[in-house]
Symmetry: C2
Subunit: 134 residues, 2 copies
Amino acid sequence: MIGRLNHVAIAVPDLEAAVLIYRDTLGARVSAPQDLPEHGVTTVFVELPNTKIELLAPLGDGSPIAAFLQRVPEGGVHHLCFEVNDIAAAAARLTATGARILGDGRPRIGAHGKPVLFLHPKDFVGTLVELEEA
Amino acid sequence: MIGRLNHVAIAVPDLEAAVLIYRDTLGARVSAPQDLPEHGVTTVFVELPNTKIELLAPLGDGSPIAAFLQRVPEGGVHHLCFEVNDIAAAAARLTATGARILGDGRPRIGAHGKPVLFLHPKDFVGTLVELEEA
């Protein structure tokens, strides 16, 4: 069912500092920051030859990554995003196995304009998993 | 400097349970387990079209992932491994920036037979980073 690893998302307390680390210290190609106020984050993509790292910093009140950064103030891997061909079929298959989809259990439009769903970390060996329709 | 994301390593307390989740629930192709007693881990690779997830379970006493699993008993992302063309050049560049290489600061032969080094999470926004000579 799962296909490509679309991205690894890393929550960071200081986006400029994280950009310096990935661009200057590690020598990777890094996109311009993009504010996504409706999703409560500012994002920067580290563009690797085979996948992306998404640096996520909180934006505004009630950011979905604020609680994570309170728990892990220095930042860290927040979620892994895998591509699927058919998000509705993926949701049905996962629900049938007893895996918990976060929210109301239905795919919604994610930060990058595609249908996504998030799976409960306790059902996926401690990892928050995002599925995105490719 | 960094190239492909070679793998995302996830430390897991129960390798069989993690294999069931990735193989059966998420429908990915999963390798046979491999014991690496000299590295204190048993590994399984989840083979994705563009990269790999490495599931790591502790093996024997003094496993390098034992402390992580004491802190995070349900498991979680342990490190990200990026490829570099020249590990000695990477080590020199990183040391010049003040980034800390774990251990004695020199590349060593990693679990998959290639020269690797690990970078201090506090210098890389909370993420343990492995560099592997491709």
